[in-house]
Symmetry: D2
Subunit: 352 residues, 4 copies
């Protein structure tokens, strides 16, 4: 069987090609794509700003925010069947290396693959996708594919707050730093858990969006009265939970200054490779608990349950500012890369 699949050859060289779909291994399934979101990290790889996308090894198929329907299963696959709607993990752990057997995060896997970033683990920018049974998760039949394509993004925000022993409730005041797709996911999570939720973003449009997706208050971190307003919004105490989802240096450094006493701090936004001057000493006198999340672990099904619980409350569909047919992939990538003011989430769609 032949199908149209996208390959990133090098920066700015993203081609759709018709290729032969290989036979399934016994533990694999063939998924017909229904939707695939374009993530900021896809854009970074497309533009050559990130070493995460490994076209240096061989062209690869991007897209780690996908959903679709199973059209064929390998002979050892018994938990899923054709017509099931599914989404899939991004970080693919081998399950047999020392770190996997230790129970560490998938991102610690010594044979880690990363769907949509490497030739050995194709992403969702294609008509079809082959992936192993262990990495896919059924979504409810009444979900749209676009909703399913949000599971991976949402799980990052959700795990950021609730993963690795995190928690939040209505007695908390949460500060979400960064109002992008992951930040808004964290916002919905904090609000659904009952917390007073403050979203910080310099972009007024993003602050406006945040108010629709769970924020009680939004603040501009570049405003001169930012810290005063933040204290006001937290009864003079500072936030009890912080999710830093921007990855911005100034934002990261400010965490240590504005965290309330005993604040649970969650770093989600990436800043690997950069040293940032922070007052680490505040960890001590503010009794901070800080944790990071390199991907998620055992969280996809829980995320799907969480999203099911809130999907009638928040308009997930409206988050997709553009729906672009897969065939027009380069147009979609251009929107995501060069028109961030209007492109909150560009969603690729696929014909029946």
């Amino acid at each position: 069987m032949k199908a149209k699949i996208a390959f990133l050859y090098k920066p700015f060289d993203l081609r759709i090609e018709e290729v032969e779909i290989p036979e399934l291994e016994d533990n694999q399934v063939l998924v017909k794509l229904g939707a695939c979101g374009i993530c900021g990290s896809d854009v970074e790889c497309f533009e050559g700003h990130s070493k995460e996308g490994r076209y240096d090894i061989a062209p690869y198929t991007p897209g780690h925010e996908w959903s679709g329907s199973i059209v064929k299963v390998g002979k050892n696959v018994h938990t899923l069947t054709t017509t099931n709607k599914v989404t899939g993990d991004c970080v693919l752990a081998c399950g047999v290396c020392a770190n996997c057997k230790e129970g560490l995060m998938p991102s610690a896997c010594l044979n880690m693959r990363e769907a949509g970033f490497r030739p050995d683990s194709p992403g969702g920018m294609g008509e079809y996708l082959i992936i192993e049974e262990q990495y896919i998760h059924r979504i409810p039949d009444d979900w749209s594919y676009e909703m399913g394509a949000w599971v991976e993004t949402f799980s990052i925000g959700y795990f950021g707050i609730w993963g690795n022993g995190g928690y939040i409730d209505a007695s908390d005041t949460a500060l979400i730093m960064g109002g992008g797709p992951v930040g808004l996911s964290a916002t919905m999570v904090a609000k659904t858990s009952g917390a007073k939720t403050i979203v910080v973003d310099p972009n007024p449009k993003r602050r406006e969006w945040a108010m629709k997706y769970g924020a009680d208050i939004t603040l501009d971190p570049t405003a001169s009265d930012y810290k005063r307003k933040l204290l006001e919004a937290t009864n003079g105490k500072g936030p009890s939970v912080i999710a830093e989802a921007s990855g911005n240096d100034a934002s990261i450094a400010s965490v240590f200054d504005i965290a309330g006493h005993s604040c649970r701090v969650n770093f989600i936004g990436h800043s690997v490779g950069r040293k940032i001057p922070v007052e680490i000493g505040r960890t001590i006198w503010s009794t901070l608990k800080i944790k990071g999340s390199g991907g998620t672990k055992d969280f996809a099904q829980r995320t799907i349950r969480f999203m099911s619980a809130i999907k009638d409350k928040y308009d997930f569909d409206a988050l997709n500012t553009q729906h672009i047919p897969f065939e027009n992939l380069n147009e979609a990538m251009d929107l995501a890369a060069n028109h961030k003011d209007i492109a909150f989430k560009v969603m690729l769609t696929f014909g029946e």
Copy 2:
């Protein structure tokens, strides 16, 4: 009753004066001092390098590492009685402010006093000390006063590893950074819990000591092959637990580089007021859990039990490199301040 009490008036101006001991409040006890250690922070205050000691308000009596015997109790004191050997907390929480009622650390108390650093809460550098019942803890009768004077220091190292949800066992490899009194305490704690314990200190004498107090291996962080040896000592994985007890900038920054995957990082050594460039992004991909400890909470009795369990195994007495009679306080302070090479812990003693 009159007694000799030391007062720090200003840097380098530490005087012993004979003063009248006030009457006890109903909830106070009068303690006759048995021993009092000199802490690095006492030296910093003596030399005027720290704002912690508040002689700017009025002269105060230093000494937060003390033990003694109760000689008189206020009329509402029923849990302790004369002749009881006791030690006391350093950070004194009021118990009635909003933060105390929230259950936060004593260091978050809105009316916090700090024994041995402020005029309102005298320390152990005096023949007698008055303190409230709630802040003192009975030590076993068969302990020496000098052992009792180590409770506060030991509790910092112990809480650093085990406080706020921390833990360690024989499957862990612990890295203790800094081989001073707190670092050695953390070393004994890690070893007693069964962990392989690595102590890092640039001072060869301190590394030698560390080997006597629980270290399996010691390393010099200034050596060119430090990181290679650390990897070797951790089977190529990096430590699973770190206690940063040096407060040194380079040491703090290195934590993020050398921590193993899923490492539990505990900041104990102070660096408040300084921004240190660190690769905070490693928090994410190494899935670090980081916490700080500004003092301890509900930990004195547990510390005393822990120390009782190990006191026949480690020679606590040998940690006191000098025993100086209280009367010679300025000599003792000079030793602690200017002869750090030979003065690991200067212990003030008091006559019968």
Copy 3:
């Protein structure tokens, strides 16, 4: 100053007497009562079915669900002042015994007092109440006294789910067993945290109420198809969180049969003194985590924040089925004791 105060002398002998209010100790406050709820345990003591109420020592003033305004403060009281609206703890820990210094629950205090159950710690059934600063908590000025009188009850349900390391979120399915005041509080807590919430009670009226206070589904545990319906409501998996708030033997025994895998089980309803046959072995194969809550710790302020967050969503006032002036106390007690079908919560009121 004289005031009318109720005293329970023996079963069914509850008298209002005019007595002289003693002078305040330095750490006490005088509260003019605004409202006081009648709890099921008050009724049990009134009827002589419980050893909790200690009139065997001397007559005591019942009422541990109270709020009021401060009219006078002792000379050492600085965190609260006259006109502040407050509520108070029920279990009063001394703060100085070995168990308190260990950080154990107030109910472990070796000198424990219990407000409203003992002569040494009067409750809220009186025009005035004297209590120590450390046990009272300010409520917002815009709360009614009746709302304030719900803090203690609500905190039991809240701590039952969230105390001692508990947690719940929108991915959970919670089973609340017992739809009385504590059960409904737990129901509101579970729902506010986003969980699908199932309430079980044999009383149809209570099930009806539960639907107004957060339940998604209610079930009758005496119905023949109860277990089938419970499985249906939990997607065949059983609940992931259980709060047993009924204290009923059959209900307690059933917990082990119906808990889902890895269920967090919280026992709130009392059954002390009775051995109940349960399949404790299920703890193992269902990997249960079970905890109990004898009162709460450091939770009043957090409870007040939680209730503030939801007070516009749930009609707390409607929970008070009867408002009876304090003067008619015996009528109120009769309602609470003998008309449980119509008396969900009898609330005593006090004139200006």
Copy 4:
């Protein structure tokens, strides 16, 4: 290739047969057995007292306490190679069902296999064993096979105390109930973690053994002064950690009576299918935390590290009271079944 393998056909019908070893699947390894212990549950299945062993489906090969050397690997196996010494899991989770993807314990797997209990997952009572890469764990080359055969047993005791958020340190007093192989493992774990360790067993020989494997004190639960002595040994407070490893009804019921305040209770010994009258109400006023462990999760490697850390301190070899060649399997089973007084652990050995 042909090999001698044992099969349990029905109670008391355990035969060694020469059978053809099948070809390896790509993800499997062929292990030549080095040692295999006989567990109490093997005896129960042999005697027909347990439904765990599924010879009702087909004859199966018992033995879940085994170690051996890899002699051949499937073509997809890359983390292990021939000559590696290994041991294996008992509970084999599929990794793809809903419960596995949720991260639940292997014993919750919807397609669970159990090595040594079922025809689809052969145990170690044979010259060779085929098992999937994901379920085996390398042991150090310098370990004996007999030591390797103790990993599974030890992991149950270890996980019982440290799994699912458990912990223990030198400030704790641990009560281990039952001095069999799992109980002694828990004893070594508690002692290695520094805790004062009390072992309770009615058998004087087992109490004697316990003293060699970490117990500080042993007690006879049938003695009239048992509870008094237990209180004495715990300073009047009761144990702070309990591991119930006997599965005995009276022992289980007593847990609720003797647990100290805030005790962490771990049920390890099986009692599934039996209702035992216990005072569950104590969960509340003693603020107990109770958890059960149906197998372990991600714990084999950690167990191997733990055992490596203590193997020079405790004589693991002496635990094997009998070494019987595999050929004499029925004699070995007879020892384990009918001579429990002398057979603490019967270890099957295999020739070169």
